[in-house]
């Protein structure tokens, strides 16, 4: 346990320069956009106020001094003003982050279980039709643009079947369950979790039915990736001596595969899954746009189009932080599972 603790401290310290690098990259972008003051200017301001903004934010100082004040501002919670949304950037992030987290997390769980199942079948039935079909599916899921898949889903399930609309909740549910008419209280912003805490079945079912299509859309490409890694890792593992030993012992084939081959094959899968977990939040942008999902990505995309610089930079920064932290969590979880890691690096 001491070695695990040392590993965690080691990784935490290692994260600091990465976070610094992220702020340097974002800071360089703020100086690329021309006038950095544009991130703080609201339409109502006159020239005198803009000059005052430049004074307050030290935009007339040398670049390193400006970077210092930029960092100081970030730490104090001053991330600028999102013009497209009409609220401070940090407030917008607080409002949009839960929706994205709910979507990305559901997609992550779906793709992990689906991908491991597909990859296992494919490896066990190597070079049979089912292997070719699964590989084609895995490559197909990867090659299908998420925004295209999402639009196809919308066409079939919304336009044709009239099943469920875009967004996180139906209007009727919002009107009947949320204040002022209803009593639904928001604790975390994650609707599934909140509806359980409220013990509200209507919101739970409605939120779940809205969540299914976007999370499958986001999961598809990722599931394909997990399936590919699982397949090649399983093929490797099936040729190993411990599998031969298990078979020689007379174990039945299904427990050889599940308990001996797959358990060992999952280590690289966990690594890959971890590496791409943070990326899901980035790829959620397209899915959020298609399904009108009120998350970070849709806000970021709108900001990019309306040249809402403060929002773009805040969006990149918050996704970067989530990305770095999720990598950290995955690494620590991985070190906990596999003692060789912490011995090697700690």
């Amino acid at each position: 346990m001491a070695s695990l603790l040392r590993y965690i401290v080691h990784r935490l310290v290692g994260t600091i320069p990465i976070l610094f690098a992220l702020t340097v990259v974002i800071f360089s972008l703020t100086r690329l956009i021309g006038d950095p003051a544009s991130a703080y200017v609201t339409p109502q301001m006159g020239p005198a106020e803009i000059a005052r903004i430049k004074e307050i934010y030290h935009f007339n100082d040398p670049i390193p001094v400006q970077y210092y004040y930029y960092l100081l501002g970030l730490l104090r919670g001053d991330w600028g003003f999102s013009r497209s949304q009409g609220v401070p950037v940090l407030e917008a992030i607080g409002a949009f982050l839960p929706a994205t987290v709910e979507l990305a997390f559901t997609a992550f769980v779906l793709s992990l279980f689906g991908g491991i199942a597909l990859g296992t079948v494919s490896a066990v039935k190597r070079d049979r039709p089912i292997d070719h079909a699964t590989r084609l599916f895995a490559l197909g899921g990867y090659a299908l643009p998420s925004f295209f898949l999402g639009l196809l889903f919308l066409y079939f399930f919304y336009t044709q079947l009239r099943w469920v609309g875009p967004g996180r909740l139906s209007d009727t549910v919002v009107l009947s369950q949320f204040p002022p008419a209803g009593t639904f209280r928001s604790y975390t912003g994650l609707l599934i979790l909140d509806s359980i805490l409220n013990w509200n079945g209507t919101v739970f079912l409605d939120a779940l039915s809205h969540l299914i299509l976007p999370s499958i859309t986001l999961a598809a490409g990722y599931m394909a990736l997990v399936a590919r890694v699982t397949r090649s890792s399983m093929l490797d593992s099936l040729n190993r001596e411990y599998v031969r030993t298990a078979r020689a012992k007379g174990l039945d084939e299904s427990s050889v595969i599940r308990r001996h081959a797959r358990r060992n094959a999952l280590i690289p899968v966990v690594t890959v899954a971890g590496v791409y977990l943070g990326g899901l939040i980035g790829y959620a942008v397209m899915v959020e746009l298609v399904f009108l999902w009120p998350g970070l990505g849709r806000w970021g995309a709108r900001a990019a189009l309306t040249l809402d610089h403060a929002a773009i930079l805040g969006f990149a920064l918050v996704v970067g932080i989530v990305y770095i932290l999720s990598n950290l969590i995955v690494d620590v979880a991985y070190a906990y599972l596999d003692p060789r890691i912490r011995a090697g690096r700690g």
Binding site: L32, P145, F148, L151, G282, G300, A301, I312, G320, N327
Partner: protein, 323 residues
Amino acid sequence: MHTSILGYVQGGAEGAMTVGSSVHLAREASFRKSLDRRLEEFRYYLHLFRKSPLGLLGLGIVIGFLVIAVIAPLLAPANPVDPYIIPKTFVTDPQPPGGQYVFGTGPFGTDIYYGVVWGTRISLRISITLVGISFILGIVIGGVSGYLGGPVESILMRLTDLFMSLPGLVLAMAVAAVLGRSIENLILALALVWWPSYARIMRGETLRVKNENFVEAARALGVSPRNIVFRHVVPNAIGPLLVVATMDLGTTVLVASALSFIGLGAQPGTAEWGLMISDGRNWILDGRWWTVTFPGLAIFLFVLGWNLLGDSIRDLLDPKLRR
């Protein structure tokens, strides 16, 4: 490569004692021998490749797109104003496929068939430029740091690790948004986040190759470091990088079209598949499925083709997977 260098070593030792022409002859003979061996190896791989149905499918799709790109003006007569802008008929309502418009029309009466055909050229331009930049940067940065080691390596690899631990898509999105909307800026923004994985693979391969006998031999003979890197190390280290590059020729289009779909990329009206889907997406809820289906299938097939091809090549080169 291996044999050719060993041959070169022998030839060099003889040549020092006799005249230069024998060196030349020995070199030529060893070159021919290595060429024969390479050809034989190639035939063997070709034989294996023929047995992989998915690889052949990928190759077929890729060749199909290359042909479409080359004969685009024959398939769809070029727009006289700018061939990469889809001509408009100003019939605002999208018309279903059939008649004059094989794939139907999009918003403002854009010919979807024209967009799909000319979009092939734009997609190839994006993928080849982007993969090319990443490939070259990867070889130089990965090769130099792997070969030289020491402080150069730690600085370059720290930089690579830093870039790899930042969210690529979102950074590219921010850079493209700040630079302004154009295909060139899109390529630039993506290149900024794409090269690190190439550098990392190249470094690993260089480390593996630089300790091989033939490199030792070349070094002992006094071949200049530049020649060792470019004539001996790079050609032997490049294999895994080529597999990744083949797959990335598809993947880059997937990512670029996604950014284009958001609105960061081609200017409105361009024959770019992601942009066409973005234009058509308001119509699909009205039941005009063709506005997004055809450009969507084009992206899907393009990415699928390159990935099937790359995947089969990797399986071929990996002796562990060959039974």
